[in-house]
Amino acid sequence: MIELKEYLLISAILFIIGLMIIITKRNSIFILIGIELILNAANLNFVAFSKYDPVQLQGQVFSLFIIIIAAAEAAVGLAIILKVYSYFRTANVDEIDDLKG
């Protein structure tokens, strides 16, 4: 039997990997992928906690919502990245700094 601890550990590793991708990668599509990883880490947590709650299924329902929202978010995010790319001719976030102070 896999214990909750292992789930959480996997989830944490996933989260850290996503975070590292976000921080280190310059390409905006990679950053979007990193965000997906972080969302999935959260989903894993919800599902893991829900496994130990036999009566109610809020965690699993919550993760379902997150999957849907992540899909929408990815669609919107990719559309924005496409637009940004067509405007700036780059997807490198370091070069897109028009909003700097």
Partner: protein, 703 residues
């Protein structure tokens, strides 16, 4: 002792409305001629003359209506303005003397207008001449009619202004400009006194209305009036008269005023300007007390002599008459001083006619002299002789008989020969001075009072002398310019009598200089209609009460001696071919020069008044430039220095503080801006750090 409650508003009736019309018509004439004179027919001269002619007819109507009404004075009074509780009024007052003066002023002004059309023909600025005459007449009528003494003062100043304009009419001539300035400034001295007198009256009576003041003052007896107040107010008003009527010691402007055109001199000397002073005395006569009247009499007597003496030695044909006017004005003022109110005003009127006639006939001679000069010039002889110098005249009797007749009649009136108007008025004055002196001598026992009638009698002699001298030099013997220039004789021979426009005023005025014009019996002043019309406001010497048949006899004898002396001296002079004119006239050269230069009064005033005045001005000017300006410079320099200091402080302290704040803000901005540099990953790192810190913090909080 206020009189302001006696000032009541009175509506205009026929007489006062007509008088107001007489006042406004010349003003209207002035405005129309001044602005549109060039466009009107003949440059507006006939228009102006007609206006004054209408005024003359209206004046007669006013006189007749006033006589019919039987009232002493007809007054119309309307409000002017009010200052707080004090109300000021304007009034038109028609009295017997005002009605007579209206006739005299408008009549002489009319004749002068008519005369000027010919005399001024073709002269420079012709279209400006007639409006000025209209203004002059307007101002004089204003003095005659106004009952409010403040308004009288305004017209008084207006007379000063218009005389200034007319004396300086030929303003390209330097001497004319100087003369007009002198007349104006000397008159100002008198006017200061007049104004002081007016303000004194106002302070005491609370009104400027002479009629209301008269109502109060007539209840006073001699003791009430002996206060210093009346003396000062009276002397103040008399000072105005001294300036305007050319009394000693302010008579110096009148001889210089001869620089104006001759018809203007006639107007000034007869009707408008110098008459104003005596008329003012008549108007305010009720104010004078014994002390003031004594001073007036003495000043008048001094003026009588001071005018007559220089007249004996003048060469300028007009200056003789100018000094003569001073002398005659002295008679009038003296008569006022000895309480011969009627005689003074009578002499004012008779003098107006015969002096106007004298001036106009002399003007005719000058006119002829101008023509001679002009004709000589046309013949190629440019001779720069003075056309008013009597030494080069002579013989005009032959070519200008009408002018000579007019001159003769008016000069006889001036001397006071029986059958002529001057005899009536002058003998009334002589009688009054004698009466006054003998009354005072018997009261006070001092015979010095006899000096005044003595002066008057001596002046009769001098008057006869100088007027005969002038008559002889101008009208008798031969034309003396021909002694210097042979061509002049021929030109002189072709001269003829003046045109009708000039001849008519001469004839009319000489008729008015005859005794019959004023009295049925030309030997008795009591038979004169004038004396019965005018009533003195204070008890004085009325011609009826006078006796002393020897007085007219003495005056006739004096006049005859004067005429005879003049004849003797100048016959001798003529026989000497006018070479030794000075020597035979007066024994001493110094006395001659003393009289010729009007007692050196001009020089005296220059030394004792003008030079110290200029010295004071120089000192104040130096004080101004050195001390006051220096102080102001010091202030301004120190202000500039202070301003520099302030500017430095401003630049480095105040601006420095502001700049410091700005620099700090900028640095802070730079520092904070470096955090937000648009790098998304750095934002993530900050967020991460913040979350970690928050977690650590919450962890610490839980434990």
């Amino acid at each position: 002792m206020l009189a302001s409650h006696l000032v009541k508003m009175l509506p205009f009736d026929t007489v006062t409305a007509l008088a107001l019309g007489i006042l406004t018509l010349p003003l209207l004439s002035f405005f129309i001629l001044f602005f549109y004179g060039k466009k009107i027919f003949h440059k507006g001269d006939w228009f102006g003359t007609a206006i004054i002619g209408i005024c003359f007819l209206l004046s007669i109507a006013v006189f007749v209506l006033h006589q019919q009404s039987g009232l002493e004075s007809i007054i119309a009074r309307v409000p002017w303005f009010s200052l707080g509780k004090a109300k000021f009024t304007v009034s038109v007052s028609v009295t017997s003397i005002a009605a007579i003066m209206l006739i005299v002023v408008t009549f002489i002004s009319f004749l002068v207008h008519m005369y000027s059309i010919e005399y001024m023909k073709g002269k420079l600025n012709y279209e400006r001449y007639f409006p000025y005459l209209g203004l002059f007449t307007f101002a004089m009528i204003g003095i005659v009619l106004s009952d409010n003494i403040l308004i009288t003062f305004m017209f008084w100043e207006l007379v000063g202004l218009s005389s200034y304009l007319l004396i300086g009419f030929w303003f390209e001539k330097d001497s004319a400009v100087k003369a007009s300035k002198k007349a104006f400034l000397v008159n100002r001295i008198g006017d200061v006194g007049f104004l002081i007198g007016i303000l004194f009256l106002y302070s005491r009576f609370g009104t400027f209305e002479l009629n209301a003041i008269y109502e109060v003052v007539k209840t006073f007896d001699a003791e009430d009036k002996s206060y210093l107040f009346f003396t000062i107010a009276g002397l103040g008003i008399f000072m105005g008269c001294v300036g305007k009527s050319a009394q000693f010691p302010l008579q110096i402007w009148l001889p210089d005023a001869m620089e104006g055109p001759t018809p203007v001199s006639a107007l000034i000397h007869a009707a408008t300007m110098v008459a104003a002073g005596v008329y003012l005395l008549a108007k305010t006569y009720f104010l004078f007390n014994e002390d003031t009247l004594l001073i007036i009499a003495v000043i008048g007597a001094v003026t009588t002599l001071a005018g007559a003496l220089p007249a004996m030695v003048q060469h300028d044909i007009k200056k003789v008459l100018a000094f003569s006017t001073i002398s005659q004005l002295g008679y009038m003022v003296m008569a006022m001083g000895v309480k011969a109110y009627e005689a003074a005003l009578f002499h004012l009127v008779t003098h107006a006619f015969f002096k106007a006639c004298l001036f106009l006939s002399v003007g005719a001679v000058i006119h002829a002299m101008h023509h001679i000069k002009h004709d000589l010039f046309l013949k190629g002889n440019y001779l720069n002789f003075d056309s008013q110098d009597m030494r080069i005249m002579g013989g005009f009797k032959k070519i200008m008989p009408v002018t000579f007749a007019a001159y003769f009649i008016s000069s006889m009136a001036l001397v006071g020969v029986p059958l002529f108007s001057g005899f009536l008025s002058k003998d009334a004055i002589l009688l009054a001075t004698w009466d006054w002196a003998s009354a005072n001598v018997s009261k006070n026992g001092s015979i010095t009072y006899y000096l005044i009638p003595a002066t008057a009698f001596v002046t009769v002699f001098i008057t006869a002398f100088y007027i005969f001298r002038q008559m002889y030099l101008v009208f008798f013997t031969d034309f003396r310019l021909a002694d210097f220039y042979k061509e002049a004789n021929e030109v002189f021979g072709r001269m003829h009598e003046v045109p009708w426009l000039m001849r008519f005023p001469l004839i009319v005025l000489s008729v008015c200089s005859l005794g019959f014009a004023f009295s049925i019996n030309p030997f008795s002043v009591n038979a004169s209609w004038f004396v019965h019309l005018v009533k003195s406001p204070i008890p004085g010497i009325s011609p009826e009460g006078l006796h002393g048949a020897w007085v007219p006899v003495l005056s006739i004898v004096m006049a005859a001696i004067g005429l005879f002396m003049g004849y003797r001296v100048y016959k001798e002079v003529a026989e000497n071919n006018f070479k030794a004119m000075r020597r035979t006239l007066l024994a001493s050269e110094n006395v001659y020069l003393f009289f010729k230069n009007n007692f050196f009064l001009d020089k005296l005033y220059k030394t004792i008044i003008i030079k110290p005045g200029i010295a004071v001005a120089a000192v104040t000017s130096r004080t101004d430039s050195k001390l006051v300006d220096g102080f102001i410079h010091f202030i301004s320099v120190s202000t500039v220095v202070f301003a520099h200091i302030v500017a430095w402080v401003d630049k480095y302290v105040v601006d420095g503080l502001v700049n410091l704040v700005a620099i700090v803000a900028q640095a802070t901005g730079k520092v904070t801006a470096s955090i937000q540099k648009g790098k998304i990953q750095s934002y993530f790192i900050f967020t991460l750090i913040a979350v970690i810190l928050l977690v650590l913090f919450l962890y610490g909080l839980l434990n």
